[in-house]
């Protein structure tokens, strides 16, 4: 009778190991396929030339530029809004109905699928505000999409700043705002940046929300109002319409590498942040 649990343990352990193996294998496979087929496509030329012939020829420069612009606009809008909201929630109020409403709202925002953001951005920015399919419409839509991430990570980071720092700051005669800017934010910065970088990752990889708001014109963006195709949208179109599998793999590799870099930075910051907290 003593042996039975041990056999059960052995079985359970092997099953768990097998499942883990499958999971890791699938993920490694995806990464390997993209990098194996994509890396040979990468060259300076691929990164520095505009797509030609609907993406069959040339590189992906304009889509990289469009992606960068979209991301910058999204962050320029979402960061102040998100960090400001987080500061308000943590430093300027006590828990009450208003903060609960705000927090609930942020959580709901986080759960809305990107296609709904796309619909919304299409109606509000493209149609109502007459920005048309443009970098601006796409960037603003992305801003709304990443806002909850920034609020949540900033809030966590600010909450993690020891209360004693605030008390000391006040006791030395600082106002609340001085305490926030001189003590709280500097300590919370790594956490806040982590949230921002996560948002960069989401903006780079987003397709559904962008395709309906920034459009898919394959041109170098020249102003806030030009319609441009982001890297992810370009990849989506290349891959689905079978325009050029080699270019699709190349674009996917650039996307994946960009995301990996972004995530590695996040991970590094997180690690450092956790170390500093402990």
């Amino acid at each position: 009778m003593r042996i039975k649990p041990r056999i059960e343990q052995k079985i359970a352990q092997s099953v768990l190991m097998f499942f883990t193996f499958i999971a890791v294998l699938v993920l490694v496979f995806i990464l390997a396929v993209i990098l194996k087929n994509g890396l040979p496509q990468l060259s300076l030329e691929f990164l520095s030339r505009n797509p030609a012939d609907m993406g069959r020829e040339g590189g992906i420069l304009s889509t990289i530029v469009a992606t960068i612009y979209l991301t910058i606009i999204a962050l320029l809008v979402a960061t102040p809004l998100g960090v400001g909201t987080a500061i308000y929630l943590t430093e300027y109020t006590v828990e009450n109905r208003i903060t609960r409403i705000i927090r609930f709202g942020a959580e709901c925002l986080a759960g809305i699928p990107s296609i709904i953001f796309g619909l919304f951005g299409f109606i509000l920015f493209v149609n109502r505000l007459k920005f048309g399919w443009s970098i601006l419409s796409g960037g603003l839509t992305l801003a709304f999409m990443v806002l909850p991430t920034i609020i949540r990570t900033s809030e966590e980071a600010i909450k993690a700043v020891p209360a004693s720092y605030r008390l000391v700051s006040f006791s030395l005669g600082s106002t609340r705002w001085q305490t926030v800017t001189k003590v709280v934010l500097p300590s919370a910065i790594p956490g806040i940046i982590t949230g921002i970088i996560l948002s960069i990752g989401r903006s780079i990889g987003e397709t559904a929300a962008v395709i309906f708001t920034a459009g898919s014109a394959l041109r170098m963006p020249t102003s806030l109002f030009s319609s441009s195709r982001s890297m992810a949208v370009h990849f989506y179109i290349l891959a689905r319409e079978g325009i050029s599998m080699s270019k699709a793999y190349g674009t996917a590799a650039v996307l994946v590498i960009a995301i990996l870099i972004v995530n590695l930075i996040t991970y590094y910051l997180m690690e450092r942040y956790i170390k500093h907290r402990s």
Binding site: M54, Y69, I72, L76, K130, G132, W133, L185, P186, S187, I189, P190, I193, G215, S216, A217, L218, R219, T222, S223, L224, F225, S226, S227, I237, R240, E241, G242, I243, R272, H276
Partner: protein, 287 residues
């Protein structure tokens, strides 16, 4: 622990970076002073061609910008009606209440019925096509003897290609709701080219070697059979304007109707229009 100290100075660096980016954005986002802009929107069947025409036009007239957007025929018609676009592109004939727009036929397109290249079938009758797409015939058995289920691939509701197919082939019969739906000609072609049991329809201009085109009632879609309309699945590629084209819009349309571009149209698999009706003829041009 010094890392936290570093993080304080880092904010300054970050601020600096942000300012730089802003400045960069400002410089690059300023619209060019002398640029003139036309917005063209509508049918995704026309869009890839229009992209190319716009590219060539902008080479000739570097100070102009031609912005080509998809959106579909209906959206294109709407866009030109509301003034959101200067030119609408439609790959279907206009309905009665859309007739107040100016229409210029810039090319013609045939709808090709396509199958996997390894499929032995060569020809279908129109009523067979109808039965396949309505879901009445579900296997290849009576068509080429293979007891395989047919994978029917169609375009989505709202697309001009589907509307044209509905009108030219199906009539009042519904396209089967079990059919696979894709949202562009390219994806339909991709799927048909990969699935040995698939059948679909796409714009003739987008047919390539990865798929096999069927003849319809014994007639293949060619320039001749489309111009004389013996091939039955033909639709117009229309450019629409709110008023008689003028200025840059007129120049762009004239450019497309020029011999040079019409030759290009032919090379790309579309059917050039028979004669070159100058924009002056537009008003009395018949359907």
């Amino acid at each position: 622990m010094t890392k936290i100290v570093i993080s304080m100075t880092r904010i300054k660096i970050l601020n600096l970076g942000l300012c730089l980016l802003l400045a960069l954005g400002y410089v690059s986002c300023r619209p060019g002073k002398s640029s003139q802009r036309i917005v063209v929107a509508g049918s995704t069947s026309i869009q890839p061609f229009a992209d190319k025409w716009a590219e060539l036009f902008m080479e000739k007239r570097p100070e102009t910008v031609v912005d080509v957007q998809g959106g579909g025929s209906s959206a294109g018609i709407q866009a030109v009606q509301t003034g959101a676009a200067d030119i609408g592109m439609s790959s279907r004939a206009l309905t009665e209440d859309e007739k107040e727009l100016f229409e210029i036929e810039v090319a013609r397109d045939g709808l090709a019925i396509i199958i996997h290249p390894e499929n032995q079938l060569d020809n279908l009758q129109l009523d067979q096509v109808r039965s396949i797409f309505s879901g009445e015939i579900t296997t290849w058995e009576i068509l080429n003897g293979k007891a395989k289920n047919i994978t029917v691939v169609v375009r989505e509701e709202g697309s001009g290609t589907r509307a044209a197919f509905q009108e030219l082939v199906m009539g009042r019969l519904r396209i089967s709701k079990r059919a696979i739906v894709q949202d562009s000609n390219g994806t339909v072609r991709e799927i048909v080219s990969r699935d040995p049991n698939a059948i679909g329809f796409i714009s003739l201009g987008l047919v390539n070697k990865s798929v096999k085109t069927l003849s319809l009632d014994g007639i293949y879609p060619t320039e001749e059979s489309i111009q004389n309309e013996t091939y039955r699945l033909v639709r117009p590629f229309l450019f629409l304007t709110r008023a008689a084209p003028s200025g840059l819009v007129k120049e762009f349309i004239d450019f497309i109707l020029s011999e040079e571009i019409q030759q290009l149209i032919k090379k790309e698999g579309l059917i050039p229009i028979k004669k070159n009706p100058g924009p002056r003829d537009d008003q009395d041009r018949t359907e």
